[in-house]
């Protein structure tokens, strides 16, 4: 069993809206090991981005982690002072974001932004940092690396910028890389390049990756394990093969059915009825029950627990529980 890089237990995060606290992450737990990619899937508002921000300690002012534990390589992150967290960030865990166009400082050269972290965290000298940065640019497949060091972000395309972000974060050799929809804004052919790159780096550097996306196709390509999130709760978790070949939760099934599949000839667009609940909406019992075709009285009252149906395959659903008694 390889090392556990990230261990999240019973995480609860709330947001303050109009002076009331609303839970956005409702008690989720998961683990990521080295050389493993865990994909968190769900739609907008399900809490996947908030999870990453909770782990990184970058929640906005009106958000806060209320309870639970987040352990990075055994070290508890909650309760650390901002300065301590600052030392962990970058060095032990890196993060790449969705918008490559705005995620780099427009007034600083690429070279500066790449070497900054190296000098800060790894104590390298200017020359050492420069050399390391160039080698990482080459590792992520950027030609003319020396030239690029002197350029500014606005001179580069989205795909290139995203690769530079990856180089920037990976050069610090973190144990965990969090990727929040890094390829959503990229063209499909560039997306493929970036996904392959991430996979290769993960294997070479034995990093654990927490990959957030709403694209099930990307999940199938890159994930080792998958968590399906709905409105702040984990509804299904399993190995990629288990999720795609044997999806158990009605929401997972709905999601897979709603994706127009490029390969299949038989396809009827089957949407999930109803709309996604907002953060402030009060729903009793299972949060999915208003949209679920199998909802029973028990679903309206009781929040389902995540139970293991196959080794490593967890589902939180009353119907599945009933069927497997």
């Amino acid at each position: 069993m390889s090392d556990t890089v990230l261990e999240v237990k019973n995480l609860v995060t709330t947001f303050r809206i109009n002076k009331k606290e609303y839970p956005v992450i409702r008690d989720i737990s998961f683990e990521i090991h080295e050389n493993e990619t865990l994909c968190m899937v769900g739609e907008s508002g399900c809490g996947k981005s908030v999870t990453t921000l909770s782990v990184m300690g970058l929640l906005p002012e009106n958000g806060a982690v209320r309870s639970g534990s987040i352990k990075l390589c055994g070290e508890e992150l909650l309760g650390m002072s901002p300065r301590q967290l600052g030392q962990v960030r970058g060095k032990k865990m890196g993060m790449i974001f969705q918008e490559p166009m705005t995620s780099l400082n427009p007034l600083l050269t690429i070279g500066y932004q790449l070497t900054e972290g190296l000098r800060q965290h790894l104590g390298m000298s200017k020359a050492e940092a420069h050399a390391t940065a160039v080698s990482y640019l080459e590792k992520v497949g950027i030609a003319n690396a020396e030239e690029r060091m002197k350029q500014y972000p606005f001179q580069l395309s989205g795909g290139l910028r995203q690769r530079i972000m990856i180089a920037m974060m990976m050069s610090l050799q973190p144990r965990l890389l969090i990727a929040d929809e890094p390829t959503t804004a990229l063209d499909v052919t560039i997306q493929k390049q970036v996904l392959l790159l991430l996979n290769r780096l993960k294997q070479d550097m034995k990093t654990g990756i927490l990959f957030i996306t709403h694209d099930l196709g990307v999940v199938a390509q890159i994930a080792d394990r998958v968590i399906v999130l709905y409105s702040g709760s984990k509804v299904e978790e399993g190995a990629t093969r288990q999720i795609f070949e044997n999806p158990l939760h009605p929401y997972t099934n709905g999601l897979i059915a709603a994706v127009p599949n490029v390969d299949s000839d038989e396809f009827e667009i089957r949407p999930i009825p109803g709309t996604f609940p907002s953060i402030t909406e009060e729903i009793g019992g299972c949060r999915f029950h208003p949209r679920c075709p199998y909802a029973t009285e028990r679903c309206r009252q009781e929040v389902p627990q995540a139970l293991e149906y196959e080794p490593g395959h967890f589902v939180a659903c009353h119907k599945v529980e009933e069927e497997n008694k």
Binding site: V188, L216, P260
Partner: protein
Amino acid sequence: MSDQKQVLLELNKLKKYFPVRKGVNLKAVEDISLKIYEGEKFGVVGESGCGKSTLGRVILQLYPQTSGACVYYGKSLEEVSPAYVAKEIAHLTQYQQKAKEFYQKSLEIDRKIAELNTRLDALSAQGTDREVKAHWKLSKEIAELEYRSHELRKDASRQLREGSRTAGSLILCENIAEIQQLFQKALECSLKAREAQEQYDRSDARYGEALVEGQADAQAEKELEEYGTQAAQYRAEARKWREQAFSFRGKNIQMITERCGDPEYWDKLDRNYETGINLGKLSPSELRALRRDMQMIFQDPAASLDPRQSIGKAIEEVFDIHTDYGPQLKKEKTLELLDRVGLKAEQYDSYPHQLSGGQKQRVGIARAIALNPKFVVLDESVSALDVSVQAQILQLLDELRDQQGLTYFFITHNLGVVKHFCDRVMVMYLGNLCELSPSHALFDKPLHPYTRSLFDAVPRPAVRDGLDASGVLEGEVPSAVNPPKGCPFHTRCPHCTDRCKTEKPAIREVAPGHLVACHLYD
């Protein structure tokens, strides 16, 4: 699937260049020619920078085209009677005249070239310095003259081509003046028909209003019948004049250029004949009137709605601009629309920020279909939505198409959506057409290398053993300001040959309805 293959819109060598600096253009759309049929869902795929959004906007004339034509068949020329028709008819003799002039000039230059060539033969390329210099100078002069002659010939053809839009191969006839008069008479009748039609429409509106208020307007009813017959009569007359003009086809052909004797050339000119409305030539007010027929739904539902306007008012605005419906009629129609797109009547007074992304997009759709358009351009309309909402909106779009007989121009980068939503698909790269075919055929057997790469790159929601590293397309999309010579895709194509680097592939029909632009299929 519609069995009738009525063409709704035809694009004829459409080009759109954006000037960046003097002499430098961003070539957004290059020579796109295609036909869009009524009732079909036509998809356009490509990545960023391929020009698909620009194409959508040029079709709707939100940007004027640099060259080429966009011809609309949803309304007849009679119905709209645009001003340019009269101008073009008046120009017919001029087109012929100018073509003759250009061609004659080019013949003169050819004669001069022949003279100079004999002088050149007399000089030798070797010999004294002075001789060599003279030889070189003469060669240069000849080359320049050849270029000018060539350009003049092209100008002559262009004049004939422009004229053929209005008269087909008749532009070659000697009796062009007579033909011109016949067309003018036809035009007059069309104008009269249009007047009658306008009266008809006004009476119709009055009748409709009265009906809403529960009364019946007898006078309006009578007028409707009267104007209806009048319009039909004038139309028949116009048709008669035109038929008379076309009886001249093939007779008294003038040899304006050397091709004029070739019946294939006449066919080509005839194909240019526009029976529809050339959108690029319309005046702004005429275009506005046509906007009822052609609408657009944008990508970002939030950005296209005024945050300070309730959605009810936003939809009513459409009626304010294009009709003179009274307030009651407007409200009724708006509520009807809200229902049709799946929103509740109570949401009439809601503001955009109170709605979800999917709901906002529904408002956008309501606005677009409010006036029963024929043609809707959807520019990445579902790309910003979650997968399940996306599916709902696509279902709605399908229903609306069945109910109202709409034709969709669906721009997207999502191949999965295109496969299951669109009937025919066009793949674009750097403003060029790569492949066009019925959608299932495209996915069964993608022919163009770019289509194949796109297809390979789409991640499937199905597990494979390990990440599939095959078919990864290296490199980035080249700049549209300086596109590669020859085939635009050759810099990234795994099958690139020397020919691909210099010669741009022509578009060929490889299977029925399946077009490809690639040397592999020449």
